[in-house]
């Protein structure tokens, strides 16, 4: 009998901690999302209003604006990061001494705090003395006078570039480990058959990378939807509300306007969006669909 219980004793501490620090708050915030609660007015939860907070979101133009921004931000970040990291991985996965050193230090950008990166970008994009601003102005003179964080489009570009920069090394390392684990014989056989580099890339390398590409897309979509630090440190959602992605919009609703019920409801909507994405990817992963 004691032996039978042993496995549960081992699991119990983790179970208790997860219930206390994750499950309980999640259920609690769902409960809060069904109430009208302005923390500025009262420390007690307001009246029960059912799903009104969720319905309110659908007629809230700020919410839709934020959804739209989230889609643009996520799509461009995920596509850019994945494409670039496959290219970087192809470049760095060769068997050369100097590349192996580069592979070692590649992890460094990933270890940096996203908050610090966000602040640094603001420094380097400064129109008066920023390094990036100067370099871009030197390379592409027509862009010399752009105030990067001053207009909607350029601020979004800046934000995407930060998130791409943060995740590119990690994603590249994932692809590198995939590429270096591939059997050499396949490539040798392809070369013998006279396949060009591009043919090898599209007909052998990429199909073989497919499982990693899918995992990377899931992870990258999740990370991008959850991105928060770079937005706070770089743009604060601005100028106006042009970079106000959902995650930041929820934070603002909750901790600047203290509209707890609405903020929780928005949080659950974002969670739902994330889960839908993950399920779509997962089904592809399980079924092993063609990857285009």
């Amino acid at each position: 009998m004691k032996k039978k219980l042993f496995k549960y004793w081992l699991l119990a501490p983790a179970f208790i901690f997860i219930c206390g620090t994750t499950l309980y708050p999640l259920m609690r915030s769902f409960w809060i999302s069904l109430h009208d609660w302005d923390l500025k007015e009262s420390a007690e939860m307001g009246p029960f209003i059912g799903f009104d907070n969720y319905i309110r979101a659908f007629s809230d133009s700020q919410f839709w604006n934020s959804v739209w921004i989230t889609i643009i931000f996520t799509a461009s970040t995920v596509i850019l990061t994945l494409t670039l990291s496959i290219i970087v991985a192809l470049l760095l996965s060769k068997d050369k001494k100097y590349l192996s050193y580069l592979r070692v230090v590649l992890i460094i950008p990933f270890a940096l705090s996203p908050a610090l990166v966000g602040f640094s970008w603001r420094f380097m994009l400064n129109p008066d003395y920023g390094l990036f601003d100067k370099i871009i102005g030197f390379l592409i003179p027509p862009l010399a006078d752009v105030v990067w964080l001053g207009s909607s489009t350029t601020a979004m570009i800046a934000l995407v570039s930060v998130v791409v920069w943060i995740w590119l090394p990690f994603m590249s390392l994932m692809f590198i480990s995939g590429l270096m684990g591939m059997p050499r014989e396949v490539f040798e056989a392809a070369q013998m058959d006279g396949a060009t580099r591009l043919q090898t890339l599209f007909h052998i390398t990429l199909p073989m990378l497919k499982p990693i590409i899918l995992i990377a897309s899931i992870l990258m979509t999740m990370f991008t939807l959850k991105a928060f630090d770079p937005i706070v440190t770089l743009t604060q959602g601005g100028p106006g509300d042009s970079t106000e992605v959902l995650n930041f919009f929820i934070y603002k609703t909750g901790f600047r306007f203290f509209d707890m019920g609405y903020s929780s409801a928005l949080g659950y909507i974002l969670a739902l969006i994330t889960i839908v994405f993950v399920i779509i990817y997962m089904r592809r992963l399980v079924k092993g669909d063609e990857w285009n």
Partner: protein, 287 residues
Amino acid sequence: MELMSRGAALPQKKKLISKKTMSILEVLCVILVAIFLFLPIFWIVITAFKPESEVYTTSLFFQATLDNFKTVFGSAFDLGKYYTNSIIVVLFTLIITIPVSVLASYSLSRFQMRGKQVFMFAILATQFIPLVVNVIPFFIMFRNWGIIDTTLALIIVNLGHTIPYAIWLTKGFIDRIPVDMEEAATIDGANRLQVLWHILLPLAKPGIITATVFCFVITWNEFMFALVLTQQDAVTLPVALSFFNGEKGVLWNQMAAAGIVFVLPTVVFMLLVRKQFILGMTSGGVK
């Protein structure tokens, strides 16, 4: 035969040239990637050693100084305090997370249990939910308990984030350790806990190290919880960086100095366990 080989030699030469240009092109691309990834870091490092008069220029030639580091650790900014806060939060989070998760993953990996798959999926699913949703009830609870702006509050919230990750990472590792040795030890009369301590732990060490470093990095860099739950006393390093927004504008040289001291531990740890880390992340995911 001879004719054929001579005929083949010509296009081969052409191919060789194009191969050379290709490899030069490749090297150029590699350099471009390296610049893109490391120029910002280089610039932060440079800025940290600049005297104030040089910060607002892009000059590379200046009298390097350690003044910025002295200033940020001085009484006016007191980086030491925030550093201590960060260390306390990370230390206690890890001390709780790692043993708890290792025991749980051992149990999940080695025993049949009803609802095991559901449990594993549930803890993964909680990670899909944006952290803001977690913070709202905690913020209210902690306000009622009067522990807003304490490191205790941050430790509690961080645990909800680190334990699920750590279980996923270590379980993947333990799954791949063959059970034979544990069975042999059990036959020799060792009890379950002895088996766990003397046989499994040494074998699972790479997995445990990976999980520890991963949890270290996410807790050390954690920003949102600290932003919401701290104001002054318990502020950790990532939020402390925003304190350099002074009346005179942002003091970039000091922020860079503080930033370097802040990221140093994560960079060092990451470099030390890089190989195991990538292995753990990818194999855990692909499986």
